[in-house]
Amino acid sequence: MRSLSCGVWKGHFLALWLGQPLLILLLMAGPARAWRLWGEPSDKKIRPVQELADARKSAEVVAALTPDFMQTLRGTDLRQAYVLKGDGLSALGRVDEALGVYQLGVRLFPKNVDLLTRQGDVLHSTGLDEQARAFYLRALIYEPRHFGAHLGLAEIDRRLGFFDRSASHYEIALETLEKRADVWRSYAETLLAQRDWTTAELAIARAISLDGQNADGHVLTAFARRAQGDLPGALAALDEAQARGAGVGARRARALWLVEAGKPAEALAQADAVLKEVPGDGAALWARARALISLGRDSDARRVLANLADPARFDLAARAARGLGSALAAPGDPR
């Protein structure tokens, strides 16, 4: 027992004897990195600004983070200041200035994933997807499953038509953003574009369970059901969306889908309702003309189409109306 205790003491002594110089060497060799041993320096000066940001007082955040004040910050405080100032400027719609702040932040903290992804977000929002992609990919080097980078890449890939890659990025982002109904909806839209109806419906159901009062989830359900041939189900989902305050778009879709369902009288009524809200609405006028044709009222349909085919209009409805008008007027037209 005594010899064991003696051995332990010897071991401690040896560790101290070797450890102290090592620690001193480490501190001397890398003072800039030494903070890693006990955390980044912070004077907590950023706290009041952070509270303003939490209260979403963007203008006050931007006003508080003057260059003079920022010069007094260090470590995490300074890094967070760049994030908050950029976010504040973005929220105020001053995207160019936000980009400048993030750029400066990234130069000072080139491995900071929050700043990298935010710079990516700003570039992505202005349509500079290739540049944005580079920043997201850089962020993933330091944090391979960073939700913001994956979300940004998911949106870029979806925009470019790489739906399978986009879905994979959404799946990783959703590991963190599992409570974000809008991300579940975007993921569902990607799956719908891939024609993966089953998984899309599951994703939409998740979005609705998180935010049942959002009309968009029900609109997506309608699209998913219609894509699988369930038109009555799709129309019912549109009704659900309208009950939750969906805009004129849902009513416009309903008018067209009632035509598809072979219910021209209802389609006519729905199209008229949309036209009261949006006079000259191309899709509603088209639905009206198609309903009239289905009801055998070709001459009425021709009048609607003539109105729609106004040479000053170049939308799809007008171009289609010109084609259909010619087909209706063609000799041998089965009227």
Binding site: D54, L160, G161, R226, A265, G282, S294, L324
Partner: protein, 324 residues
């Protein structure tokens, strides 16, 4: 989690990009509605759609990306026509290979694929005018489509070669697919002409770079062409081979001006700067094809919808109405 960290995370969550809502604009909804009608109409109630795949050597692997995007969107393709590398990809697609396998094939090819290019054969070519053999093209193709004949492909298929003795364009629509495709991408000046059906055949890209006419011969009433021409203004030929290829490309682009007008819709991936020996850029070419096709998809749908309306109209009479 301490307070600043929690606040930072909250801030990050809130500032993540906003997701897009479903597009319920008049044009988007009407396009979707009419596209559904086109997709669900029997073949007799919409134009027959021909996919035309241009020549373009290695650049033409961009067609794989285009096909992938069209398939993802459920774009109807009733028949396929191709020239040169377009014929290789077209033959595989028409034989029923899914886009993923086309991609696997495209990423596996290199400069030496489809020929007997070796240091010795290249020296023979340059010193003794001994042309290379394109027999490996045929073997490579047979690995994927076997000994399929034109009447056995899932979609009707045609490919184009040129009779080097008469200068005639030869459109293949029957017989062995692999042999015809080999003839279609038998680059003159590098490969020996193939003697087939009493003709001496070389690459069809010389006379029919964008074979819209071949698709129409198959019965296509509306054609969508994927065009992968070279941007010869950016290249500076530095040897005999590159000069020869440059001349073929320039000649091809003159010819394709007319063919472009014949196509109803064109998708042109920006791959003009990819040279025929740059096999390290194959993935880039495929992606560029997919991106360009995705960007042009809505316009392509609109074009086909507008072309389909006269035929679709025949089914829109009162009899379609269901009891309410």
């Amino acid at each position: 989690m301490n307070r600043p960290a929690a606040a930072a995370l909250l801030s990050a969550l809130l500032s993540a990009p906003a997701a897009a809502a479903p597009d319920l604009s008049p044009d988007a909804l009407l396009r979707d509605h009419l596209w559904r009608e086109v997709r669900q109409a029997p073949a007799s109630r919409r134009p027959k759609v021909g996919l035309v795949l241009s020549a373009g050597s290695l650049r033409a692997v961009a067609h794989v990306g285009v096909i992938h995007a069209l398939e993802d969107a459920g774009f109807p393709v009733d028949m396929v026509a191709g020239t040169s590398m377009g014929a290789v990809i077209g033959a595989m697609y028409a034989s029923g290979l899914p886009p993923k396998r086309l991609r696997d094939f495209a990423t596996s090819i290199n400069v030496g694929s489809g020929n007997n290019l070796t240091a010795a054969s290249l020296i023979s070519l340059l010193l003794f005018d001994k042309l290379l053999s394109s027999e490996n093209t045929e073997l490579l193709l047979r690995k994927h489509i076997g000994g399929a004949r034109f009447d056995q492909t899932l979609k009707p298929f045609a490919c184009v070669a040129m009779d080097v003795y008469t200068g005639e364009k030869v459109i293949f629509r029957d017989g062995d697919v692999a042999t015809a495709v080999r003839a279609s991408m038998n680059l003159p000046g590098i490969f020996r002409p193939i003697e087939y059906r009493h003709r001496f055949l070389v690459d069809g890209g010389v006379v029919d770079y964008i074979p819209v006419d071949a698709a129409k011969l198959l019965g296509a009433e509306w054609t969508i062409a994927s065009v992968t021409e070279t941007d010869y203004t950016t290249s500076r030929p530095e040897n005999v081979l590159e000069s020869l290829l440059q001349v073929i490309d320039i000649r091809g682009s003159y010819l394709s001006r007319e063919q472009r007008k014949q196509a109803d819709f064109i998708i042109e991936p920006p791959v003009g700067d990819i040279g025929m020996f740059e096999d390290h850029r194959i993935l880039e070419a495929i992606d560029k094809g997919a991106v360009m096709a995705a960007a042009r998809l809505e316009a392509a749908k609109e074009s086909l919808i507008l072309a389909s309306i006269p035929k679709l109209r025949a089914g829109w009479g009162p009899k379609e109405a269901k009891p309410e």
